[in-house]
């Protein structure tokens, strides 16, 4: 199961984190005795006696005594001894008796390249995140329509046409009344008295000026694909019910796909989250998938 949930980019990311941790600990030159750094178990900093001063005093003291007596004394400074037995004296090994807590600063780096985090929230420069990544890598349940294949994520960020709503996003009257569902058209006769249809509207003498006013920000070039529809569309409301648009259309290849879905068997394919950034989500080079870099949000 692990192999299926880890794709290459996940493994790369996790191994970077893991090896960073291991490398940092390996570089640490502190002694290996565990002690409590978090303060939960240990109330205070570990205090170590500095033996340096006392050491000097005892060196002198024992030097004098060595000269006076014939006992075996070890000269600690030079690591020699007047010991002449077969076993050999001090000086074969060296070790330090001093314990000094010293924290080298080289093993961690604080300079993460996380610039440009919060610009979008503090008003200076927006911009959508990039690197959305292949979240829609493959069709889910064998239903692979092309619009599904090129991904929602891409189509969302593709819209540069911005339109401002004059309202707030709020509950719609339909949500409040969704317990009334007119699924059968004949039921509507019961409701005809509450109709408020603007039937009196005659479209012919209204000009096109209305549509122009709100399009200041529109990028006309993006809309060219829509223009074809105007020519084709029959604006006579009565004729729409009876006739169909007879303009021939090229049949989209998706039509040839199955139009019946006999039995449905859910598959357990895992959709991989393969966002291209460290954050695993829709931006590049940020933490927690949350950076909106550069550019200008409208």
């Amino acid at each position: 199961m692990l192999l299926t949930i880890f794709n290459k980019s996940h493994l790369v990311r996790l191994s970077i984190i893991a090896s960073a941790g291991i490398a940092l600990t390996a570089c640490s030159s502190l002694n290996q005795k565990p002690y409590d750094v978090d303060g939960i178990y240990n109330n205070s900093k570990i205090v170590v006696e500095d033996t340096h001063e006392k050491g000097a005093y005892y060196t002198e003291y024992f030097k004098e005594k060595a000269q006076e007596s014939e006992a075996y004394f070890t000269d600690v400074e030079n690591y020699t001894s007047n010991y002449n037995e077969a076993n050999g004296g001090w000086g074969d090994t060296t070790s330090t008796t001093q314990i000094v807590y010293d924290y080298p600063y080289s093993y961690w780096g604080w300079g993460y390249p996380y610039g440009g985090w919060y610009d979008s929230y503090w008003g200076f420069g927006y911009g959508f995140s990039f690197g959305w990544g292949g979240y829609w890598g493959y069709p889910y349940y064998g239903w692979g329509y092309p619009y599904y294949g090129y991904g929602w994520g891409y189509t969302y960020y593709g819209y540069r046409n911005i339109s401002r709503s004059n309202s707030y996003r709020n509950l719609t009257s339909r949500q409040l009344n969704s317990n009334r569902m007119a699924t059968n058209v004949t039921n509507r006769s019961l409701r005809s008295n509450s109709f408020n249809r603007a039937n009196g509207l005659s479209t012919t003498n209204r000009t096109f000026a209305r549509a122009n006013t709100t399009l200041n920000r529109m990028n006309v070039s993006e809309r060219t694909s829509q223009n074809n529809r105007v020519n084709r569309f029959d604006t006579n409301q009565n004729s729409r019910i009876n006739t169909r648009n007879t303009t021939t259309r090229t049949t989209n290849t998706r039509m040839e796909r199955t139009t019946t879905r006999p039995t449905y068997t859910p598959s357990s394919n895992t959709r991989m989250n393969s966002g291209g950034s460290f954050g695993g989500s829709r931006s590049g080079g940020s933490m927690g998938g949350g950076m909106r870099s550069g550019g200008g949000r409208r």
């Binding site: 640490s28 002694n31 750094v37 924290y103 699924t183 049949t251 998938g289």
Partner: protein
Amino acid sequence: MKKIYLPLLAIFSLVQAQAQEFNLADAVKISSQQVNGTARFNAMGGAFGALGGDISALQINPAGSALYNYNNFSFTGNLQIQNNKSIFEGTKATAKENDVNLSNFGAIFVVDSKNQDQALKKVTIGIGYHTNARFNDRYFSSGVSNQSVTNYFLDHANYGYNGGSVPLDYVQTREGESITDLYDYLNSIQNGFSAQQAMLAYQGYLINDTNNGYVLNGSGNSFYQENETYVSGFNNQLTGNVGFDINKKLYLGANLNVHFIDYLTSSAIYEQNQSPVTDGYKELLFTNHTYTYGSGFSFNIGGIFKATEEFRIGASYQSPTWMSLQDEFSQSLQTNIIQDNELNFYNIDPAITTLYNKYNIKNPGAFTGSLAYVFGTKGLLSFDYTRKDYSTIEYKADRADYSLVNNYYKNNLQATNEFRIGGEYRLNQVSLRAGYRFASSPYKNKDLMDDLTSYSAGIGYSFGASRLDLGYQFWQQDSQQNMISSGTNNVANIQSKNHNISLTYSASF
């Protein structure tokens, strides 16, 4: 087909993510705080209120930073596996979503008092960036129903315009006008959203206008539906913390937090008319995206008291979070309609992103009480209780009326009780950890969302001044999801089972 009247509560089963209309569950989602900290924090179920000593503990009780003896920093990498099983009209489906991210990092700086005879022994400064919640998730539901999602469009077309029918002028384009132009124009009128839904359906030959209003272009009594919803985003916060150590007995602390919310909810609703179709509606695909982003502010205060060296008591308060958010919305509709014995495809895509006005949300605050017992240097046991009242969620905007929304929260949400228990056992350099967490549902109606239970475990290895921790968390929760935001009462039951693996490196300096 006869009309079905539902009790009023049922219309608000808008629990899981949806992107079409306003979702009441969004504020609940933003308000909830996952256990998403360091590996040690996660492994012990997040029960750190009386312990401190961990950068994530600051989120529960800011006094925790004053427990540190040395400067410290840590960062955590996270693998999150979301698993949602759905049952709709007897059909089962599964959706999975994985996410790898750096979930938090931060540092604590300890400033010992020069004069250790005074009561204030040290001051600690903490700074951290932390994920309150990651929203990456995916839901997939499918099944056969006798209620078509086209009712969503018919409903808006027939009743959405001031309670009545959308004028024909708003669903038909004028001479030289494109779908984009019309959709854009409809953003400027009252009830424009309903007119837009009607326009998409009308342009896609899904509905026709008759003398009796709009009707479905075609007929059917059996419809295969799919709803795939994908959410991606986060609720992160940047925390500045200060802590005080008084006589090594009483620890006090406070946080100032800046929140960053950013998430995208995308949904695709597919439906196929299963009845034999010779003329009219055969299939549709309705996609919606809602992108919500903004920032917020909150603060925490707390204290930890060492009754004895072993027994600790913690208490903390998390203020409400005041957020300012903005929504961007886009949608499109594709239909397959049989006309003159020919299957025609229509792609009604306004290619517009609608910018809604900014609004404010106040998310609930929380109180936490904690107890911990430290067994010398061998181990510890910790217990937290948090109470958070979700009925105090409030929407606010200058010229908007959110009274219905806020009343919904007042009447249908409740205060939650969350219990967290964690333990740690130390064997030389190795620490073994385990935890359990239970959070009651914020909804009075448990069908909408049930309680959450979580089990966790972890292991840590100490290298002296630094430590590597590995944590595993499992949690599960049941909920419901609408197949479409209005128009039908089709609801899928979702069972979520999620796994979280985290790896933390922390070191003293």
